[in-house]
Assembly symmetry: D2
Homo-oligomer: 324 residues x 4
């Protein structure tokens, strides 16, 4: 293998640049020519492919976003789109691919591999941490710390006014971010899609904590079955028949996707990036390079996509204990 | 004057603690007994008044929120409430008052002074910067930097996906925060209550910048006449008939009220706090201690409440130039 | 067991407060009376022991330092000191102990246990990560992120002036912090006590990177065998006979010990704190509660003190590859 | 005037990029061709001059360092060097110059202007704030906030161990940074070059505060007449004959020069940059564009270099009061 290309796809995540840097430099270290594809699969179809030397990834390890830009490609879901993509790779002589992204990215890579056989290895780049085959995903740790900084600030104002704040964090269908933020943010309660929390439980909890505490924080995962944080707050207010201004809601939103990656994310991204290139060199393909228990593990795209990584329920128990 | 009390009232702002510290220690330095009133005017009415020694304000200069807690008091708007408040002060022998807050706080202080003659001096504590009689208010600089950090993060993801972000910042009826954030955040445009910006102008600006730029940020003050950032975004999407996912909205919300105060806010808070106490000692009353052109200035509550501080329109011009 | 006391000892580390909170609340959750001992073993000897209710640990999960204060005790190394300490515990009816700290803390706890049989469990609180029996220590992740933020800033000025910076980070005899900072900070090279790096290697590396890069960062662990960062820089300058102002040194120092803990450290501290209390309840003693591969593991103090945790040498390799 | 070039010179400062952006875009807005000169005066001599379009300064408003790089030029101090520089400007048709930097930068610009008559306007870019003709310099506010964040962290560990910390901050011959950090950081004392503080005063202060406080911070300006923070600490320890480990020293160093600029610095940099270009268009030259009392003021290089801006002594008084 002499030419490898790298792309980022799907929602961006802090650490993607550190991963790109690791992919490019590991390839060059092993004597390969490295290429970058802009805008994910769309750029592959459109031939936005460029040679990357070592200096092209200088001074990016600490940057949020992705210098290769990202996109969600509709065209790549069509046979025609993938054919064009293949032709572009052929044209540039690309023999291997590293795709940094999440579920959708790996689904596309899998289909493409099965059709055209270009060896592809994925790196888990998403803040949601909902990918089987790796303890953590690139961007998760940064998203948590960004959210925690925000929650710490909100606690200042919650404490100053004896308020109850419902804070919505990201995570799509997964409660990973919410659980870590809830524990680290000293929340009274965390509402996640993986468990059923009734409004009654929320109301009881708040009534209980009102006796010993003056302010409270409830962290809500965006995918919770009871609705958004704003909806839940309204229902709670209605249930306890309290129309005071003591209830507030904040939706953290897209700040959780940006920012300079944490040390953990830079390390994880660098290790996955290196493992992806060395995996390709060693004949691996159609799989993701993740880190489990501090070791590199290659997991088939099939498993990454279809298997689910359970939430650590001990942590939910811990939050309950610590919120007394 | 031998006994002075301090309270915080209205929305909390970073730097209130630094101000409390300065009030308490300046008073003690000059040989006075200092008292803290909890929960603003409500606590005054309820007699939540306690002696504060120097160590009571140790290690708080860097803390967000307010150790004296804050509230908006309905009772203090009644004659009866103010009578009770006066009796409490009498009971504790309080001869002077420092009230840290904004417009509402000063309105209450003014009425109370006119009724009972307890000398009161205000300190401008609000993130909104909309108070006449001081170049800046305590908390404004911190709120801007908090919002800018968030905007910088959002720009990462905006740039990665070539998106247009509408970001709503606080400021009530004032565009101060929005203007500083717009300039510092490299926004394409800023929408503030003080100026009329039509949807057409937004659309034209975006069409123009789409030619040279791939991503854009528009900062919207919460009090803008066109509605919230979410409403404006929907109108813009409708106008240009673009239903793509390239438009996103984020409402920064209460993170702007919390956090450790900046150096500027610690300095401003400390100077105003000292000036308030020394003003009381020198016979000042019924006024606010602010800083104008680096000098302490006492402005009557009357002027603080009724006069308005104009937005620097040169800055709006500057944003326009810098967004080309 | 009805009464448990907790103390922090040795160098402080971010997350100690989160650990204290978890210890206290877990104990209360299980119906115990909880006590805090001030100033580590010194406070135990002097009887600075106080009851802690749930609210005593409110709003501290995000705070650096330790509300129980810390110290290195000379007196506890004497038989007489430990006797007094035992008497104080007896006086308060303390039946179990949680000691948060590092090697020295556990050594003291072990001797004390062997002499007086008070069940004691440790929590790994040190930024250095040099403790056997846990993947990470409380404070390590925060120290890395603090150091990385500093290194990111230094890179700005290094890049602006084409300079070579030698940056010294903490870690006592261990290179853990240096390795993570070197990788995350995009360093050209990392010098740690665990490996021999000659000055010639540094000089050769710098000569090589001068061809492709304009600025460089070399991270030096404080315990490196070649001396401090300042000494190494002088030797390198002398060796390559370059007296220019392009070489600079920065010693990060005590900023690495402070600051609000990261999400990871809050989680780790909370889990260890809970595990320590539940361990005592289940009859464990004379051991440390750590987390290995996401599971609670109890390791005897003996092993914690005498066994060493090896540095992951793959990471050193990775730094070499990524610095091309 | 049709062609203007911009350069950064001397020590770098956060906000230089925001200033470059404002210079370039203001020029383009007014129909001019804009050029960037790399490495300050050295690059002018060597002809490292390139055209800058609007997109060349995209996404840099928030970046530390300077994309034009900076240097201190020996060659520009020679007649020969300046002659070459002039020839390079002639070659590119440059008719006006914006020089971002401090004293040294303006001294060079003044001599060059007097010899060759190329209209030049300066922008005050230095963290030290020691330039006459502007209330604040670009980078000062960021440096203060960076130092304060570090001091806040150090206070965590100081408080945990009841220690006395001597913290050295930058500022060359000026105490501006030290004074703001001392006040904002809640220091017991500030030692600056502008005032004489004897060791006895330090010792007396520490003895006094030991009675009421358990930990103390003393901020030392790097230019203090008593020596470095490390030297002062040793002298103090010797004087009070205390050889304990309770005294610690930290030199913040180059972290103060880097990092993303604060809102204040982005605003100041943008206004000065615009004012410099508009000044050149209006026939101004041989002067600096600064902001005094929120208004643009042009001050002759002569005055900027020879006049000194006094320290606000009220602030020193304030620190004394607040440290009781």
């Amino acid at each position: 293998m002499k030419k490898i290309a790298v792309l980022t796809s799907g929602g961006d995540a802090p650490g993607m640049n550190a991963c790109i840097r690791a992919v490019v430099r590991t390839g060059i270290f092993h004597g390969m020519e490295m290429y970058g594809i802009m805008y994910g699969y769309d750029g592959m179809i459109n031939g936005e492919i460029q040679r990357m030397e070592s200096h092209a990834v200088s001074n990016i390890v600490q940057r949020g976003g992705t210098i290769l830009k990202s996109a969600r490609s509709e065209m790549f879901r069509t046979k025609e789109g993938r054919k064009k993509a293949y032709e572009q790779l052929q044209k540039h002589g690309i023999e291997g691919l590293v795709a940094i992204g999440g579920d959708g990215t790996f689904t596309g890579a899998k289909v493409f591999y099965e059709e055209y056989g270009i060896p592809t290895i994925g790196c888990p780049g998403t803040i949601d941490n909902d990918i089987f085959g790796t303890d953590f995903t690139i961007g998760f740790d940064t998203a948590i710390n960004t959210a925690l900084e925000a929650i710490d600030k909100i606690r200042d104002t919650a404490a100053a006014h004896d308020r109850i704040f419902f804070i919505e964090v990201m995570g799509r269908d997964s409660g990973y971010i919410a659980v870590e933020c809830g524990l680290g943010g000293g929340a009274e309660m965390v509402m996640v899609p993986e468990t059923k929390t009734t409004l009654n439980e929320v109301v009881e909890k708040l009534k209980g904590s009102r006796k010993t505490k003056t302010s409270s924080v409830i962290v809500v995962a965006e995918g919770d079955e009871e609705g958004s944080a704003a909806e839940i707050m309204e229902k709670v207010k209605h249930t306890i028949n309290d129309d005071s201004k003591d209830f507030k809601v904040t939706t953290l939103g897209h700040i959780q996707r940006g920012g300079s990656p944490t040390g953990k994310d830079r390390m994880l991204a660098s290790r996955c990036g290196m493992a992806a290139v060395e995996g390709l060199m060693n004949g691996q393909a159609n799989c993701m390079a993740g880190i489990i228990h501090d070791e590199v593990v290659y997991t088939s795209f099939e498993d990454c996509i279809t298997k689910s990584k359970p939430l650590n329920r001990d942590t939910l128990k811990l939050i309950e204990i610590l919120s007394i």
